[in-house]
Symmetry: C2
Subunit: 267 residues, 2 copies
């Protein structure tokens, strides 16, 4: 099965060394869609057991440049899940109340409850990405955050949360095409934002910020997965596989009922 | 001025070596009350500046055996503060939703907002105290929590929160008298709880748990203050002094208005 790129905690990487498009794969668009559908059925069953067991949780965190496909991945991979125990949080610009607290405050509040799967569309990593690129806090502040993030993620991990962090990796050319498509296709116009063009000018700064964040926060308890994302179906397949595999590894069980129910008759 | 006991981060202490009642002091009940009143006026003024400045916050955390006087301290020391920017959180038994998250989840949610003073009546330390004494989680779990607490408190500290942790230190005999008073005095009956007598049987276990927590979590960024609390007025005086001193050290300022307002006329 195709897998995301991973790398050893503590080791240095160059983000530009990772492919954004993997050519060699036994899958194509159609067979990937079938596999994602099959995975969704397995995932729904296991998510139900996870909920009944009520001991552990999963946090799937998605980061990536504009147009990398965070929304599309969630839509394609997670449909089929019971929303009762699967919540998506999209982190936008922080509110005034959120800015009046440490940067992890709003994130911790929505950490997944036991038995649940939490999905972060963007996350606390924005506080070492956009915040860094645009000098929104002093250098010392965002540098401290790597350790703060690692400590926070370790707390969640030690408390029973499995953390999966996916970096959706696209090329600069692929982003150009996708932004252009948002302009050219009327039904995609609503997704287009002038600000995206301004952000695109900071491409190299963002790549550097991503690289540093991936290196600094790639831990045993919360590893990064680099997802080649120039092809949407391949990106979706990788994330779907990761989620299915994680749920199967967890192997959650329905709680065993210790009382003997055999004599109970409901009248 | 009388001061709480403090000790170096990393150093070991024996809690039984600290006095619960300090005899030598220039203060008495009456002059202490006057000083506390004078402090309250200074504190209210500085709290107002802290609020206007909107950059930093204070967290006053109170722990102590039953009857040590957490409620009484807050009532006596903090009256005079504007409740707009001063909030007390009393941590009770966690709810089902709270138990379905890591133990710091409910604490982080109520961490003080910039410009505010947060007061914790009990706190996350209960998760290495009562939880440990009654074996409510495996040993490994509560042992991990010391580091998790230190990391969490460092996050708050690095984000602008001044953390003051007060251990209200009473003797076993003093607790006996106070519990007896709750039984003997009709207007205090409502405070009496049969469970307190059961808890009292675990006195030594609690003292050990407090000692370990004080040693493990006495950091530069969040030090413990040991408050001799057998005499209520002395206890209150120490906490009042600590709070006044902290606010004066912070020396918060009203934001300077850069616009020239001199020509503005309100019509």
């Amino acid at each position: 099965m195709p897998k995301p790129y991973t790398f050893k905690p503590g080791s240095k990487i160059k983000i530009s060394n990772f492919e954004t498009r993997v050519e060699k794969t036994e899958y194509d668009k159609k067979s990937a869609a079938e596999k994602i559908h099959a995975n969704a059925i397995v995932m729904a069953d296991h998510a139900r057991r996870l909920y009944a067991e009520n001991k552990r949780s999963i946090l799937l965190l998605l980061q990536g440049m504009d147009t990398a496909g965070k929304d599309g991945t969630i839509r394609t991979v997670m449909r089929g899940m019971n929303p009762r125990s699967c919540q998506v949080y999209s982190f936008k610009q922080p509110s005034e109340e959120e800015r009046d607290h440490d940067f992890l405050w709003r994130v911790h509040k929505v950490a997944p409850r036991k038995g649940n799967i939490g999905i972060f569309n963007r996350s606390h990593y924005e506080d070492v990405l956009v915040v860094r690129v645009h000098d929104m806090v002093p250098r010392k502040t965002w540098q401290q955050r790597y350790q703060q993030i690692n400590d926070f993620e370790r707390l969640l991990s030690e408390s029973g949360t499995i953390i999966l962090k996916c970096y959706l990796h696209i090329s600069r050319e692929e982003q150009r095409e996708r932004l252009q498509a948002r302009i050219d296709e009327p039904q995609s116009n609503w997704k287009f934002n002038q600000a995206d063009l301004a952000e695109r000018k900071f491409w190299d700064d963002y790549q550097q910020a991503y690289q540093d964040a991936l290196i600094a926060c790639n831990t045993q308890h919360a590893p990064w997965y680099i997802i080649p994302s120039d092809r949407k179906w391949y990106r979706n397949l990788l994330v779907s596989e990761l989620m299915r595999h994680t749920l199967q590894q967890l192997d959650p069980h329905y709680p065993t009922v210790t009382d003997d129910l055999s004599q109970i008759v409901v009248e």
